[in-house]
């Protein structure tokens, strides 16, 4: 599934702890157009709950979450 998602921008957030992942994604999402997708790769386990909370609050859509051994990859569609 995730392999089929085409990201318009990739954010490498590996090694960054709270609050950096949400701070960076909130900046990064503004760098794509509405309807485009940002791929964000984190290693912060907290981002598993933080990214959905951030997306709900700001009206964006997480279209897929892929959990690897250490890395978590979010595909986020800019809605507003």
């Amino acid at each position: 599934m995730s392999n089929e998602i085409k990201a318009d921008k990739t954010l490498d957030l590996k090694g960054l702890p709270c609050p950096m992942p949400v701070v960076k994604i909130s900046k990064g999402i503004k760098e794509v157009e509405v309807g485009q997708v940002v791929e964000a790769v984190t290693t912060d386990p907290g981002s598993l709950t933080d990214f959905p909370a951030w997306a709900r609050t700001n009206g964006h859509e997480i279209i897929d979450t892929v959990q690897g051994d250490k890395e978590i990859t979010f595909y986020i569609k800019r809605i507003v």
């Binding site: 090694g15 709270c18 609050p19 701070v23 609050t57």
Partner: protein, 181 residues
Amino acid sequence: MEELQKQIDELKAQMGAMDARIAGNKLSMIVFSGDLDKALAAFIIGTGAVAMGMEVVMFFTFWGIPILRAKNKKAKGKDPVSKMFGAMLPKGASNLKLSNMNMAGAGTAMMKSLMAKKNVASMDEMIEMAGELGVKIYVCEMSMDLMGFKPEEIIEYPDLTYCGVAKFLEEAINSKIQLFL
């Protein structure tokens, strides 16, 4: 007809007053403590709130003010008591101590090395980031005066204003979240 217009005008005025009372998507925070752990929490919540789409205002008062002292700036013409306050309180964000387990500085040093190892932003970096994100800082004028701090020894920050309690309350009334740290 005239009566109806009058009623409409009254309703409009009431709506306007109600609008002014609806809390905005804003977080206002009082930073009262000057401890490393509490200051770090304040800036993590502040920058996180910007990421969540909120406007953020931070009010620094009492022991929170030394967080904003610039490491390499000095103010002239201080009286002895102000000088004593200056010497005894942390000189800026990089000199704060833990509220717990400080152990004559050993605990704080250990925490700082852990923070660096785990990539947690330092206090100086957090303040810089807050500035970039548009977090507004207000500084309590009365505390500054009481402790003998002067504006010329405070850090360069993009949006920093000296104020009194009324400014905080105006912001707090219009905020969804208010915190005291």
